[in-house]
Symmetry: none
DNA sequence: CATGAATGAGAGTTCATTCAT
DNA sequence: AATGAATGAACTCTCATTCAT
């Protein structure tokens, strides 16, 4: 995490550095992100950078953290109303929120995407030490509650399902942005697909006369 | 693809270089893979390497190709009997084959894993030009056939489901190898989990008195 | 052109690097000039070099520029008095100045010579983008003025003659330094030859009883 | 010079290698000419090349030699009639022959051009050890004869003038091919310019009422 | 606290040439 | 005589990080 010297900077300078760093991590893979380029774009001295951050990874961790906070923030309204919803309704909302996040903060979403899809295992592991675990835990608790409320089957492996949902939620946007440009008119389609995914999770693929 | 000079080498030398290269791509991300290290480990001259391969990407493509072949080979027996099986049975077998592949060729599986999880988008795209499309197509055809045979619901988005399955199949092993070491005794558990995943895909998570 | 980091260096360091670079470009063809050798001779780190210059060409362009300035400087006194002279007198002085430049700055002259005589066409083109054009233009203007003053024939192709003069002026020193060492005692001979060249340009080779 | 092994090759093979080599030296500077590329294009083994030629320079010398012969051949008809002509008429014809050579054997002319304009001094020197000396000697003899016949002035430095003519003859085509493409319709213009150059050499630039 | 010059290991790649077969 | 695999030094250039000022 950044040193005090960074936090002591003026709001503007902090924001400026943050913005440039996000851009960089959105445009390049971790290995290709260049501190030299960052300090040039940000107009600060190389030495100053190393007064603020330990090293590249330190900056990266800070970026991750901020993105995490931003994502959490976009989810709070949903989380607060969690009790008012059926489990699958919640899932639907959750997936939608994810899509909306990608729409309103595309740069942050790009970074997130890079993290998920092209981060060396070792680094991913470090990032997830807390992050993912929390996310998984949340799902596990939700699942357990839903089982008790008889909203979902009781004979499932809670941990496994958490894992499946986490991964599926991330691939929703991926699925779309490979085919369509991120435009307003495509937005509804994406939401539809997302809903379909939840529906499949709920009802399964199997042919069943009773359903 | 490698130059003739590579294919003209003795079986042993080819195998040796192949082995070292696999190791390298298993242990390091694409960017971090070092030709210098490879030639040192393989005990060949730098110049020789460039007699065999155009450049790093050329070696990489060769590796990919070989892994692809190996994976295909491990699947043939299954594909041949595809008609004798129910769709979900096929899925179960497919997931199992994937796990077995990871067990019998762990180094190859590691490389495959790196490709799926940490390859820059641009490179992935190049690799998949055919590969993934084919895989998706296969699933789409299977799904359509299964629908006709009333094995699965007819109201699903075939393309979307193909995508979901592809991704889930890849994350089966990922799910396990983060927690447990790849040991014989864990193998049964992994198979169980894999089967559970398919079962969820089949029946869904939803609570249903009729099921 | 060099980066700020170069210009910010101490006078001595700049001069040191400049000197070494001139030596290198005097001793080797462009392709054979080695950055590795330069940094070794100059006692700086490889990385430092690339803090100062974009690349080899950047260094080269800087060198060219400096030589151009030096040459221009050696010509200013002549250019200022251009109106006081007959065209051929001017030419004589110009050729002499060229010879003197080669005598006082032999290393720079050597580099200049390499540029004229062994630079790949493509690179030459880039250097001349402005340089040579200007030189040709100057001659063309001089020739036109001389025609009006009835100092030279009016029935010549101004552009062609400019070209001839430019090339001859460059070969003056070449003519000598292939045979004689650059010594004080040879200097007068060279001046004589140079004057002869101008005389031939003025009067032609033709036998003419009236002359 | 090539080894016997080269001369023992079949006419076709020799011609093939010669053709490829000319192409290569026409398209690339000496340093950039690649033996690897040559043997690939020519379809011979690397080792074979070194059975035929000592090294790159050896091949190059052979090329030069062949071009020299070709050029000489194009000049023989002229040389044979040398006595029937006035000195300046001869010069005019000589320049023209040079231009025609460039037109009929453009690849050879390109190589020649590279030699004149971008060959490192040291190599040039070696090439000229005989070649240029001969050319200069020829001019010197011609000039002396012309002086005796009262076709040209007697008060000139014969050696210097030989040098000037040699260089000017080479720059004739250079002058043109920088501006115009080598097309049939430009050919007459080039001849005109060439004639003008000779005319200036004959009569000089000086304004003279008697001329 | 800010600066930015200095660092040097390391990257991928090219090359002419040798030599065992 | 023909082959072509093997060589390894040399090349330009990039990089994250350090440290004296």
């Amino acid at each position: 995490m950044p040193k005090d010297t960074f936090y002591n900077l003026s709001k503007e300078k902090k924001a400026q550095i943050y913005k440039i760093a996000i851009e960089e991590f959105a445009d390049y893979s971790y290995e290709k992100v260049s501190i030299t380029r960052i300090v040039e774009k940000a107009g600060i001295a190389k030495g100053s950078f190393y007064q603020y951050f330990e090293n590249k990874k330190d900056l990266f961790m800070y970026i991750i953290d901020e993105i995490g906070k931003a994502k959490m923030e976009s989810m709070t309204s949903l989380i607060e109303n969690i009790d008012k919803m059926d489990f699958f309704e919640f899932l639907r909302q959750l997936f939608r929120k994810g899509i909306e996040f990608g729409k309103s903060k595309p740069e942050l979403a790009k970074v997130l995407d890079r993290i998920m899809n092209e981060m060396p295992k070792e680094i991913k592991a470090e990032i997830y030490k807390e992050g993912e675990v929390k996310s998984l835990e949340m799902f596990e608790n939700l699942l357990k509650a839903a089982i008790e409320k008889r909203q979902i089957r009781s004979d499932i492996d809670v941990r496994l399902v958490s894992y499946m949902i986490t991964h599926l939620s991330m691939s929703v946007s991926e699925y779309h942005f490979q085919d369509m440009p991120v435009k307003e008119e495509n937005f509804d389609k994406i939401i539809d697909t997302s809903d379909s995914m939840v529906e499949i999770l709920e009802r399964g693929l199997g042919f069943n006369v009773f359903k």
